[in-house]
Assembly symmetry: C2
Homo-oligomer: 644 residues x 2
């Protein structure tokens, strides 16, 4: 083992800072020494073989370290994390150091073969895989226990010694990216490949989805406009619009899978093997044996977790749902009161008053969503999931259900209990527009403004004490470490999910929703881009091959929307007029149509292949080659054995 | 490459015949010589390195050869096909020759380490992978073209030179298996592991499913009996029965996936890597380059195939469906006529006459199913699918749709057009029972009787001319080569699928269906076992990890049955009495309940994990180990490279 890494010993002088490690103020000297020694130590001694440099700040009480690595080290790390890159023959292959010459753009002196985001991901991976060997605790902190194999960085994080780890921005690159992303005032596709190079696949895939979804909504919007302009109210036109919407929403979700496969194949993540998942930082338990790895690590009984999920979380969620419905009923009382007021004193003011309850309700919904979000995070964390992915799934499920009810319950109530189509249309418009405005404001513009103010203050302070040449980097680190942390794409997808609900659930009542959604998404692309580039710390790249559980969420929404639209059409007076004698026939017809549409939906989802044919062939080719290679290898081993 | 197989050269005298190869009478001498030479030739020369012995028959005009292999050859073959076996530490691992000592029950002189079925599967695999090298055609048959890489055996089969290849029965083992399977007159579980050892995983899994399904039906049958005995007609009891049925059918299908995972893990097929699929024997096309393998082989345009599928097959299937509906209408006319006759001349005879149309219809359905089956096979073969799996999927889909309509259309018509529950019950009973009797007869008893007669005749002839000591083997081969060929589990699953339809689609009308299904399945187990052991040639073992597309088919049926049962309950007079004023409320309630049940179904299918926890852990452990091993290997390669 030692030999393989020995050729890294030669010192490389060109240190390029990639990742910032901030330790708490007043961290003990012995801890810092131990931690930095582990980072630079040889692999053979259980180190990460990276480079560390302390950041010289004007007042020395801050423990900020810059981590980098030699080019060779990064290439070996790329092999460890299983990076997939493009070869000279345009196929995608898992990178290995020994086959490095076969990869496109590889040259021993080309330090741009790995993107900066990839380098930072490798360093993060290597840091997180620094594991305790003999240590029983973190030196200097007897209460921070360790056991063999425990990730040191995770323990340092949970015990508060390590404040944060984040990757540095590359100002040159960022400037270029900003320019091509939202700098020019021309309309065009986003530079997704560049975004992916800079921010990683998860974020690029979100922007890819946002763009795709916006384009996919355009046909709906275009068809929806004449309904509003000419005030079409014909039965057959509505049915046509709704039917088109339903089939269209199935098609776009299926086609997205194909687009996603094309993109992630190009980026290499479609082929990337899933790494073995470590316990998430917050996970705790009694020390036991992990049945999978055979290693000693904290173990938490799955039954205990199930009890927490089903006996605490589930009832709590139900209670919250009930509360949300209760608030909804209050809203309807208010609405009624506003209506009465308007009838009694008709004026411009009273006319405006009609919209007040809806706006208040929209604001309350947003507030409840945010409060509930904290509760859900707390509960899911308390459920003590071992894996980050399982934590995420439970959190997403909780938040989705509540948000769905919170946002749409009133609309369902208006549509299917009050049967008031005019009120439905009005509420839908108010909810949609209010929530869009609130979101844009709370998500991007407010943080951007705060960030700008903070930056100005920082700059003023900086300028007053010019010290040495290193300042630009020091300044950059100081600026960036104070920036907000981007907590992943969850909120962004959630927003799109709810928007999709507004557009599709009641599409036949309010065809204009798609227009608003398109307009919102165009500004959303810009404000999200602004957010990523200007407001937040640079996030670590996360390789991913698809949008995960969101695909399922969107598909579920599209199934629900078939049901709601069929009912709405069935309730419309035009359709009712077609069945003057018998309401029974009407309902039976609607039910039949609904079942047919659902059947068509499922058949379409089944028939449309998830991956385009050329990607399928490329994947099959790779699989075939790996099977052939295995056979060759077996033969080689046999030969080797027989030579012995 | 040559070295690795060189240690096989030493001659092993113990020849155990495993597989029989029958060439056509009058095959040219040069062809036989070439073919047998290829079979025994060294791997290095492109041979299969197996052993061949001609079978000495009394009249020498039959070209029958026995193929076997040395123990060592079989072990190397086991590695090639990727067999998974149990290790000494009870984990399942892919067998490799170099790690052979770590496997349970392995000893160099233990020739039972591989089961006979596995040996035969290996030999089949090796024979099918005999590939043309320089040959442009089969020697002696210029019209039978070859190209480099074409499977010789497949070409020999399609050109009619090779009549058949089949594995030999092991009379000792078969006797033991028969005894433990259906020999004893005690009720118990089937010896699935022994069946799997003898017949392979696909067949064992079918019998496993049949047994599981029968047990799963018992609760339905038990609950169904009192409904019949006490003639319960209460609304709430029916609703309870139907609800139980619907949820139960979801549960049993989900639990089956878990059972299946447990079994196939034990058998090793859950872990077996899918082999690269070769073109199916009937596939033809212009010689081109396969984009996946880069090899020269026939290529057929996917667009042409799509045209054949959508412009010929699809309209044909629709036409057949229409015809089937037309026949159904004739049946109803007959039914009406019988009823009129019964009313006019009431007698025992006329009472019997009432059942005649149903019975005729049941027979006609069976006949139409069988004719359509041939048409579907012809069409699917004409569609020219490259892969056997794709051929099978298209065939199954065609046959399923037609069978479904053919068997259930009349019941749907009676239930939802005629609204005649009494007729529905009667038709259901007649169809179910007639089809069960017909199936049992046509599938097992008739072939068994034919086989028995043939055997007797053969024996008589054999006894008259006793020649040498080799006779028992000669006799066995002669007997077995005349036996029918078992064409896979398709028909058996189809029968179960239709039975599941009879039981679940109208379960709330005829609770007794489950009782008949259970009774039928118990005899079905015995008659199918008889069929496998006595009637058919031994089939080659086929490794498989699940029941494939049938799982989907059963799940679809269970979704449809939710809809039908909800409608049936909604139509019952008891439920109608609950909503005396408004039919609209009734229908809305039924629709609501149906959607709720469907939602519960999908949530249950989502929540119940497909694999039991311990299997999940074992799989995760293996994956973890393989990732770790890969890391070790990378390090070793580095070391090796740096040593150089």
């Amino acid at each position: 083992m030692a030999e393989s890494w020995s050729f890294l010993d030669t010192f490389e002088p060109d240190f390029r800072p990639l990742v910032v490690v901030e330790l708490a103020k007043g961290t003990k000297e012995e801890t810092i020494e131990w931690f930095t020694k582990r980072i630079v130590d040889k692999k053979a001694n259980g180190g990460a073989q990276l480079m560390v440099k302390p950041l010289a700040t004007e007042n020395g009480d801050e423990n900020i370290y810059l981590v980098g690595a030699s080019h060779l080290r990064l290439l070996l790390g790329a092999e460890t994390v299983g990076l997939v890159k493009e070869c000279n023959d345009n196929s995608m292959r898992t990178f290995t150091y020994s086959s490095r010459k076969t990869f496109k753009d590889f040259a021993d002196d080309n330090h741009n073969f790995l993107t900066m985001a990839e380098c930072q991901y490798i360093i993060k991976h290597e840091l997180e895989n620094l594991r305790a060997k003999g240590e029983k605790m973190i030196p200097g902190y007897p209460q921070a226990k360790l056991y063999p194999g425990k990730s040191i960085v995770r323990r340092l994080l949970t015990s508060g010694i390590l404040v944060q780890i984040f990757p540095l921005h590359d100002r040159e690159e960022l400037k270029k990216l900003r320019h091509s992303w939202y700098g020019q005032m021309k309309v065009g596709y986003q530079p997704l490949d560049e975004i992916r190079c800079y921010f990683g696949e998860t974020i690029a895939l979100y922007f890819g989805f946002l763009e795709y979804f916006t384009f996919a909504l355009i046909p709906m919007a275009v068809i929806g406009i004449p309904y509003y302009v000419f005030a079409w109210e014909d039965y057959d036109k509505y049915v046509m619009f709704a039917t088109f919407n339903l089939l269209w929403s199935t098609v776009i979700l299926e086609v997205w899978k194909r687009m996603c496969a094309i993109m992630t194949y190009r980026w290499g993540t479609l082929l990337m093997k899933r790494q073995f998942e470590e316990p998430r930082p917050g996970f705790h338990g009694v020390l036991g044996i992990n049945p999978i790895t055979g290693r000693e690590e904290p173990v938490y009984s799955s039954i205990k977790r199930q009890i927490r999920v089903y006996l605490v979380s589930l009832p709590f969620v139900c209670l919250c749902l009930y509360f949300s419905l209760y608030v909804m009923m209050i809203y309807f009382d208010l609405e009624q009161w506003a209506l009465d007021y308007h009838e009694k004193n008709e004026s411009n003011f009273s006319n405006l008053m009609l919209f007040v309850p809806s706006i208040i309700y929209a604001v309350v919904i947003e507030i409840m969503n945010r409060i509930y979000r904290y509760a859900a995070e707390f509960l899911t964390s308390w459920e003590n999931h071992r894996l980050e992915s399982s934590y995420q799934n439970h959190l997403i499920l909780k938040v989705l259900v509540f948000n769905f009810l919170n946002c749409f319950a009133s609309l369902f109530y208006i549509a299917f209990v009050l049967f008031d189509m005019k009120l439905l249309r009005q509420s839908l418009a108010t909810l949609l527009i209010t929530s869009q405005i609130l979101n844009q404001f709370a998500e991007s513009l407010l943080p951007y403004w705060l960030q700008k103010r903070h930056k100005k203050r920082m700059k003023k302070r900086m300028c007053s004490l010019k010290t040495d040449m290193d300042l630009p980097l020091v300044e950059q680190v100081k600026l960036e470490k104070e920036m907000g942390t981007y907590f992943g794409t969850f909120d962004d997808y959630l927003e799109l999910f709810l928007q999709f609900g507004y557009v599709s659930l009641f599409s036949c009542v309010y065809p204009l929703a798609a227009v608003f959604a398109v307009l919102n998404n165009i500004t959303e692309i810009y404000s999200d881009a602004l957010k990523m580039c200007r407001v937040y710390k640079r996030p670590f790249a996360e390789p991913t091959a698809n949008i995960g559980v969101w695909q399922l969420a969107f598909e579920t929404m599209s199934v629900i929307s078939v049901v709601t639209n069929c009912i709405l059409i069935g309730m419309s007076p035009q359709v009712n007029a077609l069945f003057p004698d018998s309401k029974v026939d009407l309902i039976l017809t609607v039910a039949l149509v609904e079942h047919l549409l659902l059947a068509i939906k499922f058949i379409m989802a089944f028939v449309i292949p998830d991956k385009p044919r050329d990607i399928q062939i490329k994947l099959a080719k790779l699989e075939f080659e790996s099977v052939e290679a295995l056979k060759q290898q077996v033969r080689a081993t046999d030969m080797y054995n027989s030579e012995k």
